[in-house]
């Protein structure tokens, strides 16, 4: 089959690779209909993952049709149109039973690297290196999906592919951010980053009853999208004093919930690559911590693979803030999000700014990485 493979730092190619096969009784094979680029792919694209090998297939967010199911699969059969949640999860461990699928204990294939010590693990992730516990990704004609009864969800007929593909990762991650922030009726919510996840976070906050939702970014077109599709108030940090605006628009209290959804910017230099410091991110995080109201919640999304120093710990303790983090979504919200998509409460198709054949995967990633031509997400059709 054809798949979008990593070749070298900054270089992707569509190549012929072996078809996936059923490896476990609870697996299905999905024929991919759509797959989307994601921020978590950018460190890989840049070659920042030590276990990435040429030929590894990228793609964490995809939707397709079941073509083959293992004997242990109950809920799916050939022909089902399914979206596959971005966290592979067993459904039977303690974490899964709490609904914390992104923490699943059994998402790690039996690899020699399995180790209880803290090591970088991509267990439970599609489009992540096999050597790190990951699974081949969705930018391909076919994908193997483990634990399919838990990870794959039937898509209602009313939801088209381009809207539904974002129920895999973007939508549940944005929803999770609002939930981790415990956004309530009447809250003021500030979100750093008007990318796909930031926009869905804004929408989720509105749906949960937030009185005001403010989105901070510097990309004009993203801010306009957040305004139009999520009812958020845009703040362009190049033109406004963000801290002062946030105070202003929250009656001097500060936002009740601050979400940092700036993603992982591409490496800019060798120092950046080795130091793991991303210029945007600590600024946004510091700003969020300083802006948040006393005893408010700061939610940090996305994977930075390094360390962030100069963290304003004093502000955290002094003002009794709660800091919460999430890298990947849980699966429990996916059916609810698909329902909201079917009812038109949650629209995501505008995030697919660039719709391309998989053959143009490398170009799609270049646009996405550089945020060129207003690209929010590139969506591929194999």
């Amino acid at each position: 089959m054809r798949a979008l493979c990593w070749v070298a730092a900054g270089e992707l190619a569509v190549r012929e690779v072996p078809d996936p096969e059923l490896r476990n009784e609870r697996d299905v094979i999905v024929r991919v209909r759509r797959s989307a680029t994601g921020g978590g792919d950018l460190p890989l694209l840049a070659g920042r993952h030590p276990l990435l090998r040429p030929g590894d297939v990228l793609g964490a967010e995809f939707l397709g049709e079941v073509v083959e199911a293992g004997p242990g699969v109950r809920r799916h059969r050939a022909g089902d149109r399914v979206v596959v949640g971005a966290s592979v999860a067993c459904g039977g461990c303690w974490y899964c039973r709490q609904g914390l699928h992104s923490c699943c204990d059994n998402a790690h294939a039996d690899l020699p690297s399995a180790d209880p010590d803290w090591v970088r693990s991509d267990a439970g992730c599609f489009g992540r290196p096999r050597a790190a516990g990951g699974f081949a990704g969705g930018h391909a004609e076919y994908v193997r999906v483990p634990y399919a009864d838990v990870s794959a969800f039937r898509v209602p007929d009313a939801v088209d592919d381009v809207r539904a593909v974002f129920a895999a990762d973007v939508a549940p991650t944005g929803w999770l951010a609002a939930e981790l922030g415990a956004v309530r009726q009447g809250d003021v919510v500030a979100i750093w980053g008007a990318g796909a996840v930031g926009q869905v976070t804004a929408r989720a906050a509105v749906l949960r009853g937030a009185a005001r939702v403010l989105v901070v970014d510097r990309h004009e077109e993203r801010l306009r999208m957040a305004e139009r599709h999520s009812d958020a108030e845009p703040l362009d940090y190049r033109r406004t004093d963000v801290a002062a605006e946030l105070r202003d628009r929250s009656g001097g209290r500060g936002p009740d919930v601050c979400v940092v959804a700036v993603g992982t910017p591409p490496a800019r230099s060798r120092a950046d690559r080795f130091g793991g410091q991303h210029a945007d991110r600590p600024d946004a995080l510091r700003e969020a911590v300083h802006a948040c109201r006393k005893s408010g919640v700061v939610v940090v999304l996305g994977g930075t693979d390094g360390f962030v120093d100069a963290f304003p710990l004093g502000a955290l303790t002094e003002r009794r803030l709660t800091l919460r983090g999430a890298g990947r979504p849980d699966l429990r919200d996916v059916p609810m999000l698909l329902d909201r998509m079917a009812r038109g409460e949650l629209r995501t198709e505008h995030l697919a700014t660039h719709r391309l054949p998989l053959a143009q995967g490398p170009e799609g990633y270049a646009l996405f990485r550089d945020r060129a031509d207003g690209c929010v997400r590139a969506v591929f059709t194999p």
């Binding site: 072996p18 609870r26 242990g72 294939a109 039996d110 399995a114 081949a136």
Partner: protein, 149 residues
């Protein structure tokens, strides 16, 4: 719940005699060893432990070692206790000190990380109990070199 003292010895239907036959002091190099080994060849290895979100009766049906552990018969000791907070069972194992592992296992139970095989075995037991199967990695390009690339 199964008393841990009894279980530590009970698992294998392996008498002292069978063990004694194979027993001799095993010199395990412990360079870069895990905490607890203290670079002392005679010190017992660290316990490796997982929490299995199932009651002990299910983790060790009829008090017997589950299949993957049986392969380590005579080479490891096992400890079982209920996990606090209704989180199932804590299952621990470690290589037996001063015992030569049966042929075929020896290579896995020595070296820089003698706990590796024990950890993998415990993980398999946990996955079988919780997920019903042991998750396999995707097929590697190395499995079918002729179609690589």
């Amino acid at each position: 719940m199964v008393p841990m003292g009894r279980l530590a010895r009970a698992g294998p239907a392996l008498g002292g005699a069978a063990l004694a036959g194979a027993a001799r002091l095993l010199r395990v190099p412990r360079r870069g060893a895990r905490p607890g080994a203290d670079g002392d060849a005679a010190a017992p290895a660290r316990w490796e432990v997982v929490t299995v979100d199932r009651p002990a009766e299910q983790v060790l049906p009829e008090g017997r070692w589950p299949e993957p552990l049986r392969r380590l018969d005579g080479a490891v000791e096992v400890r079982v206790r209920p996990a606090p907070g209704d989180r199932g069972t804590e299952l621990a194992a470690r290589p037996l000190a001063g015992v030569t592992p049966p042929t075929g296992l020896a290579a896995h139970l020595v070296g820089d990380d003698p706990g590796l095989l024990v950890r993998r075995t415990l993980r398999q037991i946990k996955q079988r109990a919780e997920a019903g199967e042991v998750l396999r990695a995707d097929r590697s390009a190395l499995d079918r070199p002729e179609v690589h690339g």
